[in-house]
Subunit: 338 residues, 2 copies
């Protein structure tokens, strides 16, 4: 038999389709003996549920979606998404729920995808990344009544469930470390200004500056590209009172910055300390290897998956789960200023 259905199992077990359904889904309605027998037969016939049939009957598709709205060009460089994806999948696989991944160009396209997914019943819920200030996706998803979890930012006024890390504490751990080394001129090459986490990091630095006695602590926003990271670094290092330490919001920009420093004859870590806000193999491949903030991205994804499943099961309660703080991995690119 090509592909057994529950009807086949029912015939073989001498019971009704309904009884088989009850047995296979572990719900009351059949005796333990019958259940046992049915399960054994299903196993023998190597039965597997037909996802579409189940989706149609139970109005859930056992599938969640994730849309990444970034040009593909800037994507693959960062291990961040690969780790995140793996984590999400590991969180989903326990319930054998599948993941639909889509890479699109911008937020408008992303919202279009959500609309389509909702109307075609293709996913039970979605995972959001790269939350911006006043993010239009939040309202859209609420309107579509599509369960969602936000990664890396709070859902905003209790709107969506979220899994978030404390960017503020993370930034503090970096600058406190640099200040302890003796740095007083610290610059911050930040990411896109409309990202929530960019804002939080900028604010954290600004707030901490007086307490740590920082002379100057500018945050300069970029588009996260290596080109802008390099350009800003060049500008910073050309100043008369140049910073003795630079914090980069991504590993790619940090690497680009390191390149600029070397080009300009600024020795790292002698004349300049460099810290990356994200860790990856990139930071380790460099000479000197870069001090970086490492977080457990895999676990991040796993938790997001868990929270999403909870949200799907019970859309009423909104979970906001905080993940462990990232830790600073000190390597060769940081030292006391000369």
């Amino acid at each position: 038999m090509a592909r057994p259905t529950i009807a086949d199992i029912a015939t073989r077990a001498g019971v009704s389709k309904g009884a088989v359904s009850f047995a296979l889904n572990g719900r009351p309605g059949v005796s333990d003996a019958t259940r046992e027998r049915i399960l054994k037969i299903a196993e023998q016939m190597s039965w597997r549920p037909h996802s579409a049939a189940r989706a149609l009957g139970a109005s859930r598709v056992d599938s969640v979606g994730m849309v990444i709205a970034r040009p593909a060009r800037t994507l693959g460089v960062e291990p961040f998404f690969a780790h995140l994806l793996s984590g999400v999948q590991s969180g989903l696989s326990a319930e054998s729920i599948s993941l639909q991944l889509l890479i699109v160009e911008d937020t408008a396209a992303e919202i279009e995808v959500y609309r389509r997914w909702a109307s075609e019943h293709r996913v039970d819920g979605v995972i959001l990344v790269d939350l911006t200030v006043k993010d239009p996706r939040v309202d859209e998803l609420k309107a579509l009544e599509l369960p969602a979890v936000v990664i890396g930012g709070r859902g905003g006024k209790g709107a969506l469930a979220s899994v978030w890390a404390d960017d503020r504490d993370a930034m503090l751990s970096i600058v406190e470390y640099l200040a302890a080394l003796g740095h007083r001129r610290i610059a911050h090459v930040a990411g896109t200004p409309n990202f929530q986490h960019t804002q939080r990091r900028i604010r954290a630095l600004r707030d901490a500056a007086p307490r740590l006695g920082l002379v100057d602590a500018p945050s300069l926003t970029t588009d996260f590209s290596d080109a802008e990271g390099a350009a800003i670094t060049r500008k910073l290092l050309s100043q008369s009172d140049r910073p003795t330490a630079i914090v980069y919001d991504s590993d790619v920009m940090a690497v680009a910055g390191l390149g600029v420093a070397m080009e300009m004859g600024v020795s790292v870590p002698g004349d300049l300390s460099i810290v990356a806000f994200d860790d990856s193999i990139l930071t380790q491949l460099m000479h000197p290897a870069l001090t970086a903030l490492s977080r457990d991205t895999f676990d991040f994804g796993r938790q997001a998956a868990e929270v999403l499943l909870e949200t799907i099961a019970d859309p009423a309660t909104v979970v906001n789960r905080r993940t462990p703080d990232p830790v600073l991995t000190v390597r060769e690119s940081t030292a006391p200023p000369r």
Copy 2:
């Protein structure tokens, strides 16, 4: 109305469900006038097909799968997959078919996924990457009768459809360039020996060596990791008659190799020329920037999607499509030997 069904449309148009189905799918059975009217009503009610219902009735799910069997750790570094994915999606989006992505640890797990997908009817076909010699997945997929397309290697004895690049020509373009510069000692830091493309590259180099008058042209296999890339480079550069040029099978290994050279005081490109077999932002971030072989990975993915859709539509004919040859992007890491 929350979500219109074709029954709703049928009522409103004063026709039967069947007529609506015919009209919406552009098949004969309704007059042009009626079709027009039905389409307009569907549009007005913003109807979208319920994917599960359609899947159940038409026994196709409008979804294809792709499994990547690599530890997540080694994944995100290479933009390769991000570009490939984007390309695949762009090829699929024309037919609004969705993509299921799964990252697993090894081939055994990958095959398990195929079995599950097949039995649960979750995908109409799959895209295979990283083909090995005597790849067990090929036979498995044929047994499951799951349409598939192989990326970057021929399906083997006309088994599976494929989209492939000519690794042989690619390797030749690199070594001929190096030979023209005057290099006679060229080493090749290859990838995993069981990958088909690794084998093809090794063979291409070996075959070309006599013709180009190469004194020595060893190929050394690795696990694609930066660690092994660095270790092998160290070994090569410690030899008394060390190579004047090294070709790396991946950009990550090339970067690691560059680091080793700098560490050992071997100047690049003065004492050593370096070529990477894959291009990415990584190679451009380095100092010196690395000469690398660039291919249009996005287009690669797009073509794979197209071929897969053809294969799903007509499983009988096996397409083997060759993609344009990659081109060598010369940067600062190559020069004539001293």
